[in-house]
Symmetry: C2
Subunit: 623 residues, 2 copies
């Protein structure tokens, strides 16, 4: 990896920062955040502006360029990568270290008195704007919105914004029509006495209209906004995608509909002026509902007195609770995914000893097996295929420079998943193709105990996921071990593999209570720098639990694993398992054998079936 030479680019950027063509007054600093206008976790190439200007292409980072300096804030995952990818025009600001200044403090320390700091108001979320603006103002500076994105003005070969065809999902996949989703949304709006709702997150637009796209890799979404009124529906979307007869039919664009279900299709870029028009027409007590993470530009389009901001939108919450059709789809997707992984692990077991399988080859093979399954669309994230020390790099992705060959002497960790038309998967298995050491087995077993502690937990209705996080760590803690990431995230239904508002983590307390129908991952791990990584991840469905008593009639919940892939018993130190854990493993493997076995049989995959049967042999106690 050689660093990107940015001297010329920075010179150009500093010129446009003073150019009356783009800024009313010269700005002394320009902020380049990571995100897109929808606050997406994964972004399209045309939105990778921070990577373009700096060379650093990790998933998290903020660049700030002043007349004299260029600085990049990123977190511990990316210190090394950023240092490699950036030339010496850039100063790396290591977030999380004690002596690293915040962006605000740094700006205040380097800016001349009364400076103007610019940022694209479409990219910066309203809550971040507020914080930054306040800090700058109290030091005598101003944060100013710069309408045209300054990176775009110097990015001559900027890729086009993707505008790929849409997929329509019928009732058998979604369970609820878009009309009924609009009705439910309007009833939530009525409850809160708001007249308008602005849909800004891409997965929320996709979910609401039962449409999917492929504008962003791994995420089946498309660039669009929507504004829902009590009697109007406006969809802001570009390209000829609305010309597709299947889409027209699906959205009933050519039918005679009650006016309140008539969708007005408008250009993607007209959202701001349309929203401003909505804002201008409001009378007192009429409110517009927005996520508090929506962009500053859209938030400002609505006068402050009319804004109703919440951390989670009603769509985000409704989307998280999967209905019967979605749940069945997720089950089907996970069965197909397990078939692919049985094929893969069977193949690896034969090929790895030959010394010809690299991390990249294994990842490609996993994709190949998945792509053979019905309704496969694409992967749901970049496969983490890592052996030996690479397994300890939590967000590892094999590239030629790091690509390692799998062997019978190292632990192999595979974290992978796919988008199927009926559901999204995300599974991690850690295996050894030779003989694991006692220490490796010990660590694996603690992780397994944590995985089971969450998966088998019973907890009252209304419990937030973060209250379960410590269950996953208890066995590790007992021996002085731990892992430095959360335990689980929400998973979309043929949508983003990471979605809110629920999760299992010691970090976020803004999560919404778990409800039956929600789907999260359960993925504790243990990582030893320079040696190995262990993670065991299932996607699990929140279901009602039967309990002996029922305090205050609250009811109880537990989890049902949707992922049905054998957990390598060779890695388990059975003597460390309680009877309950021992039974859990055997029950889980019995279920894998029955359900995945039947599907392997049906698909005529006899060799993989033999592998499954061998891998799901019940544990036995050694006395």
């Amino acid at each position: 990896m050689s660093p990107k030479i940015t001297t010329e680019l920075l010179k150009q950027l500093r010129q446009v920062m003073k150019s009356p063509k783009y800024v009313q007054e010269p700005i002394q600093a320009y902020i380049v955040p990571s995100g897109d206008a929808h606050q997406s976790e994964y972004i399209a190439p045309c939105d990778c502006r921070r990577a373009f200007i700096s060379g650093f292409d990790g998933s998290a980072g903020t660049a700030i360029v002043t007349e004299q300096h260029a600085a990049m804030w990123t977190d511990g995952r990316y210190f090394l990568q950023a240092a490699h990818q950036m030339d010496n025009n850039w100063t790396l600001m290591k977030m999380g270290l004690k002596d690293t200044p915040t962006q605000e403090d740094w700006l205040v320390s380097v800016l001349p008195e009364g400076s103007k700091v610019g940022v694209d108001p479409f990219i910066i979320p309203a809550d971040q704007w507020k914080r930054m603006s306040k800090a700058l103002r109290s030091a005598g500076h101003d944060l100013v919105p710069v309408k045209e994105n300054l990176i775009d003005t110097i990015w001559t070969d900027c890729p086009q914004r993707p505008c790929k065809p849409l997929i329509t999902l019928n009732l058998s996949y979604t369970g609820v029509s878009w009309r009924d989703k609009i009705v439910a949304l309007r009833s939530k709006m009525a409850e809160r006495k708001v007249l308008w709702f602005v849909v800004t997150a891409l997965d929320e637009v996709a979910w609401l209209f039962n449409l999917r796209g492929s504008d962003v890799e791994y995420n089946p979404v498309f660039f669009a906004y929507a504004v829902i009124g009590m009697n109007t529906i406006r969809l802001f979307i570009d390209g000829d995608r609305m010309m597709d007869p299947a889409v027209r039919e699906h959205l009933q664009l050519d039918s005679t509909l009650e006016p309140e279900f008539k969708i007005q299709v408008m250009p993607y870029g007209s959202i701001l002026s349309e929203l401003q028009a909505v804002g201008a027409g409001l009378s007192p007590k009429e409110k517009v509902w927005l996520s508090d993470k929506a962009s500053y530009a859209l938030t400002e389009a609505v006068p402050k007195v009319y804004r109703y901001l919440t951390p989670y939108t009603p769509i985000c919450i409704a989307k998280a609770v999967k209905n019967a059709s979605e749940t069945e789809g997720m089950r089907r997707a996970h069965i197909k995914d397990a078939v692919a992984l049985c094929e893969l692990f069977n193949w690896l077991e034969k090929e790895v000893p030959k010394g010809t399988v690299t991390e990249i080859i294994a990842a490609d093979k996993a994709e190949e097996f998945r792509s053979q399954q019905k309704d496969f669309v694409e992967l749901s994230f970049a496969t983490i295929s890592s052996t030996g020390p690479n397994g300890a790099i939590i967000h590892y992705k094999p590239v030629p420079e790091t690509n390692r060959t799998l062997s019978v002497n190292e632990i192999y960790l595979l974290d992978s998943g796919a988008q199927y038309k009926d559901g999204t998967t995300d599974v991690t298995r850690t295996v050894h193709f030779g003989t694991p050491s006692a220490y490796e087995k010990e660590c694996f077993t603690y992780v397994l105990k944590g995985h089971i502690a969450v998966s088998a937990a019973i907890f009252p209705n209304g419990t937030k996921g973060h209250l379960l996080d410590s269950f996953a760590r208890s066995a590790l803690w007992d021996c002085g071990l731990d892992y430095l990431h959360g335990t689980g995230h929400g998973v979309g239904s043929f949508l983003n593999v990471h979605e809110g508002p629920c999760g299992i983590s010691y970090k976020t307390f803004a999560d919404e209570p778990l409800e039956a129908g929600m789907i999260v991952s359960d993925e504790p791990g243990y990582y030893e720098d320079g040696s190995f990584g262990i993670r065991i991840e299932n996607v699990v469905l929140v279901i009602p639990a039967e309990t002996k008593y029922n305090f205050k009639n609250r009811g109880s919940l537990t989890f049902e694993p949707l992922t049905l892939v054998p957990i390598q018993t060779k890695m388990i130190d059975v003597s460390l398992l309680t009877q309950k854990e021992f039974d859990w493993v055997n029950d889980y493997h019995q279920k894998c054998r029955e359900i995945i076995g039947a599907e392997l049989e049906r698909q005529g995959r006899h060799e993989a079936l033999r592998w499954l049967i061998q891998e799901t042999e019940p544990l036995v106690r050694v006395q």
Copy 2:
């Protein structure tokens, strides 16, 4: 309980709300919060203004009086009590119910346009003022500080503010001299670049100067403020308490000292003007450190640009970590407390079957036994002595109207504690004097399992207490049971029985990480309305834990029980215990037998010793 007739009082209050003698312009509403000027949990009689105006004397509640209305906000614990104690001038606002308006919303709904709402700026914390003021302003009203407390102007027989003699604590109790505490505080101030620190919480003043008082029942504190500069110490305190030679000697008031350790004693009431003088003399970048819960009056005394506010002060955090002398004192206090409880339970076992012991008699007897112990000062809170259905009332305190007789047919719950000169205790035991039912034993055993899960937990250095809360609930959750309170609170060292900044609860995430030397309670419970209550509470010390491995060199922590009182084995369903839990109970009882047995022997309390030995017989497994 008959309600207090408040018609005349409200009439008087409404008059002074318009009187130019007290308010510049008439106010349309007056807020009467619960607290005192130090945001104390327990308050002195002279500060019970809300109880005086309304009749309602529960520990939590806010009264608001307008020209037409009088309303009282309180929470679920007090709905019944407030309804009984208030006459029909008052509207009860049941907090936590869906349809109950917030104070702000209610004020906005009843006030005429452009109203002024008054409050005593010394009583309202700055953060509450900010919230309330913002809400009122956005509706066109004003929150205004009313200098003289309006309740005090009509409270003709208001008790005097207590001004009781002080107790000086020498190094053998405190471990650190007040001089060294000042030095440590100044070094924290230098770290944060602040020049002044304002001590507003009563327990923080007491801790800093190694003094104790008895101005507030159960809490060994005294009314005072302090302002610490880098070269000055000002103590604001009333009465002739500073004439006491022991106090003068302790504070070295008559010695020739380096000027930076010379304590200037000033009248309690002069804090505001002195602080205003400090604030007026500041130059840019000079900061004054205050708790963000300090009163609005004191916070406003410092111009906003000079304020440095934090949720926890450096004193609060230093006070929480007990040094070796404090820890040893706490151990001694808990041994004495256990002796008293062995005497009590031995006595109860003989007396209860006679049918003559009421909840009040039992509570008095507990106090009597405690008062026989060395360095006993007073109780640390009102004893919760509750039998049968009264046990299900979590904050129960027996009064003649509810006083129930203990019997061999009901569960008895005793939550009690004392202040000794060397430490503060707080212990709950739940016992049966006859034969408990299988269901009662089952519930007790789940609570015990939760208690052990926390007490025996091993967790990394830096873990916050709230991450341990679910451990206490897991066994109850498995059967569909739960309890609706937190699991633990910080405990002072001959100071307040509830203190921050650590605790174990699903509710508070603002707690500071647990550190070796911190002391908290571990008190899960189970309550069945109308039948019984179960709680098992020990005070436990955070200590380093030995673990097999040591991830990232972080080190691990666990708890050591300071409370050493037998847990009634008759209540335990041994078949529900794991081997680890079974061993924990036997080890704990062995420790009680050894340590408390030796002390009972030393004190010649042979009958109680026999009881202890009988109660600490090891559990046996019934095959």
